[in-house]
């Protein structure tokens, strides 16, 4: 029994000592961006064999907290840094941090494929999600109750959509909060009278609505062109945060992300170039 315990425990303890051995750039944060960051890291490491980059997820908040505490070099975030986090950085490092906009993500409004509605104005989207319009017939659809799907309130997408589409108003109380964009897409694809929103890269099995800035302008479909040019009105940035202006390998890595090569990886993962 004792021997058994010893044989189990020793490797575990040994393993725990070897951690943090090599010098590496560490990236931590947003679950939305972990795959993108991982792709960047892989491609960059393939080109620069001397550099090691470690990527971990955990959530935007987790990454930014780690940045404040010095546990990571780079934090990825799908939302801008909060004032509380900036205050913490300011107290520790007398810096408000460095923000890098690495890619653009288009937020699409989804409806079920069977829904006859093809386009909505920004005002209509806002009134639907704040609960003023509750029936599809008010926006040119059939006579049916509108079922709202939103993201969970800890997500960057939730905050972005509320601030930029709902103009800061709160979602209707009957909006259902889904833990991920995939859950929204899944729900909308199965629910004929529903509407939801999320990243453009996720829209599979649902119909993406064209959005009109106002009643007189033509509807714009979200795609690489329109999101890049800004013609599509709902898009946001994905961020990297650092404590201070990057130097050395970190700088080389971030500069590389912003080159055409780095940006093309973002496009492959389903996002859009930052510029």
């Amino acid at each position: 029994m004792k021997k058994l315990l010893a044989t189990i425990l020793t490797p575990v303890l040994l393993a725990s000592m070897v951690v943090n051995a090599g010098q590496a750039i560490t990236i931590k944060g947003s679950d939305t961006m972990v795959i993108l960051a991982q792709r960047w890291a892989e491609a960059y490491m393939a080109k620069h064999p001397g550099t090691t980059i470690q990527v971990t997820g955990g959530g935007s908040g987790t990454g930014l907290a780690a940045l404040v505490n010095g546990a990571t070099d780079i934090a990825t975030s799908s939302r801008p840094m909060k004032s509380s986090e900036m205050n913490q950085l300011k107290e520790r490092y007398a810096s408000l941090g460095v923000e890098v906009k690495t890619a653009k993500d288009g937020i699409t409004v989804y409806v079920s494929e069977s829904n006859p509605v093809k386009e909505l104005t920004m005002d209509q989207v806002r009134e639907i999600f704040t609960g003023k319009i509750t029936n599809w017939k008010d926006v040119g659809g059939k006579d049916a109750k509108i079922i709202l799907y939103s993201r969970e309130n800890n997500s960057g997408t939730y905050v972005y959509f509320r601030d930029n589409v709902l103009k800061g108003k709160d979602y209707a109380a009957n909006a259902q909060h889904m833990p991920g964009t995939a859950a929204v897409v899944n729900a909308v694809s199965k629910d004929p009278n529903s509407i939801g929103y999320g990243g453009a890269a996720y829209a599979k099995g649902v119909k993406e609505l064209a959005i009109k800035k106002n009643a007189s302008t033509p509807g714009v479909v979200p795609n690489a062109e329109t999101i890049k040019s800004g013609a599509y009105p709902i898009s946001r940035y994905l961020y990297l945060y650092l404590r201070n202006r990057p130097t050395g390998e970190t700088k080389a890595f971030i500069d590389w992300i912003l080159t055409a090569e780095g940006q093309s990886i973002a496009t492959k993962v389903g996002y859009f170039p930052a510029k």
């Binding site: 935007s60 004032s83 460095v98 969970e152 909060h177 500069d255």
Partner: protein
């Protein structure tokens, strides 16, 4: 247990230190679970404590916690609104020509500047001024408002009534299904069923009990929700009904197992007496055995209730998570446990929102503790009395 009692005084073993030490260590470890209950209570309440104070939540506990190891006195209740969200501030980031940095690789247009250094272009005074404007102080009464909107851009509201309502709704639905099925199946297994059926049924129920809740949540989300919507044509695909039925899959084994124990514990002479007096088998089982087992069955229901009230993964996946305060069972609901599960991962540690989520944990803990205490002391005592009294 204590074999020493039978040994005559003269033959008693002498005191051995090694034995004594072993006994002490064992005793110490054994009370761990007792200590753990206190620790759980203590630490969940400790993290929730800022909520219970009515003024600023930045207390002594907070500066201890490592992720916010700054002295908290100048931070305002945060997480409540975001500096970065206000457009005025965002513009100073890299898009304001003043903050353009010449050391960056590109020097042309501002938009081409890859890094914005907000600190670089600001004087120390300005950095001081980048604090958030005051939010109305959080008061305890905020917890009892009727809307749960913790990251609202206006004043956030942490009303727990919709969440409690949500938890109660799914719990009600799950018991509505699980209680009759669990109790009757247990009655069948212990009384009517032939032996081979019993040997077959019990492992089946153990299988049901062994299915991880995340699998049940996945099943409810993918299969059950679509099936129920197709049958009943509900507006909402994910709602309290779907979540409740999904939950009943985990509650049935609990009610079944404990009812089974309770029915088995009914003394045989009751059954025999009843049969001897000419009652039929079903009359005996329904009118004598079942009533006699009622305290035990009640305990089973209480523990099933506690399980349903606190279960997380199923309701997180299958109820739609909209914090609505109405009694309609086909509307989506947001439960206490699902709110913690969904929101905790990305909340800033030490935030007001963080503390409120811990407060929800305190509510869940208190509820399950109370249920367990009732089941333990009151019901057991009644059951003993009843059987002794007969």
């Amino acid at each position: 247990m204590d074999t020493r009692k039978e040994i005559p005084e003269g033959l008693r073993r002498r005191f051995r230190p090694s034995d004594w030490i072993a006994a002490q260590i064992i005793r110490l470890v054994a009370v761990t679970s007792l200590i753990m209950i206190f620790l759980i209570m203590l630490f969940v309440v400790r993290e929730a404590a800022p909520v219970l104070k009515t003024q600023s939540h930045h207390g002594a506990e907070l500066s201890k916690s490592s992720t916010s190891s700054e002295s908290g006195e100048e931070s305002t209740p945060a997480g409540v609104e975001s500096y970065g969200e206000t457009p005025a501030v965002q513009e100073t980031y890299g898009e304001d020509p003043a903050s353009k940095d010449t050391s960056a690789a590109t020097t042309a247009a501002v938009q081409d500047d890859p890094y914005g250094t907000p600190g670089g272009s600001m004087s120390a005074d300005e950095i001081e001024n980048t604090k958030v404007e005051e939010v109305p102080p959080f008061t305890f009464s905020n917890l009892f408002s009727t809307s749960w909107s913790p990251v609202s851009s206006q004043a956030p509201s942490f009303g727990i009534w919709p969440l409690i309502m949500g938890s109660l709704k799914v719990t009600f639905v799950s018991l509505l299904f699980a209680a009759p099925i669990g109790i009757l199946a247990a009655l069948y297994t212990t009384t009517f069923a032939p032996k081979w059926t019993r040997d077959f049924l019990k492992p089946i129920i153990e299988i049901l009990a062994g299915i991880p809740t995340v699998v049940l949540g996945f099943f409810s989300l993918m299969i059950l929700a679509s099936l129920l919507q197709n049958i009943f044509g509900m507006d909402y695909r994910l709602n309290a009904l779907v979540g409740g039925i999904g939950l009943s899959f985990t509650v049935i084994p609990i009610i079944f197992t404990l009812s089974d124990d309770a029915i088995n514990a009914v003394p045989k002479y009751l059954t025999e007496g009843s049969l001897a007096l000419g009652a039929t088998k079903w009359e005996t089982n329904f009118l004598v055995v079942l009533p006699a087992a009622i305290p035990g069955i009640f305990a089973a229901l209480l523990l099933g209730l506690g399980r349903a009230f606190g279960e997380t993964m199923i309701v997180l996946m299958a109820t739609g998570n909209a914090a609505m305060l109405d009694p309609v069972l086909t509307n989506p609901v947001r439960t206490l446990s699902a709110s913690i599960g969904a929101e905790m991962a990305e909340v800033v540690v030490g935030d007001l929102h963080y503390s409120v989520l811990f407060f929800l944990g305190v509510v869940l803990f208190a509820f399950s503790f109370a249920l367990n205490a009732i089941a333990e002391f009151y019901i057991r005592a009644r059951m003993m009395k009843r059987f002794k009294g007969i």
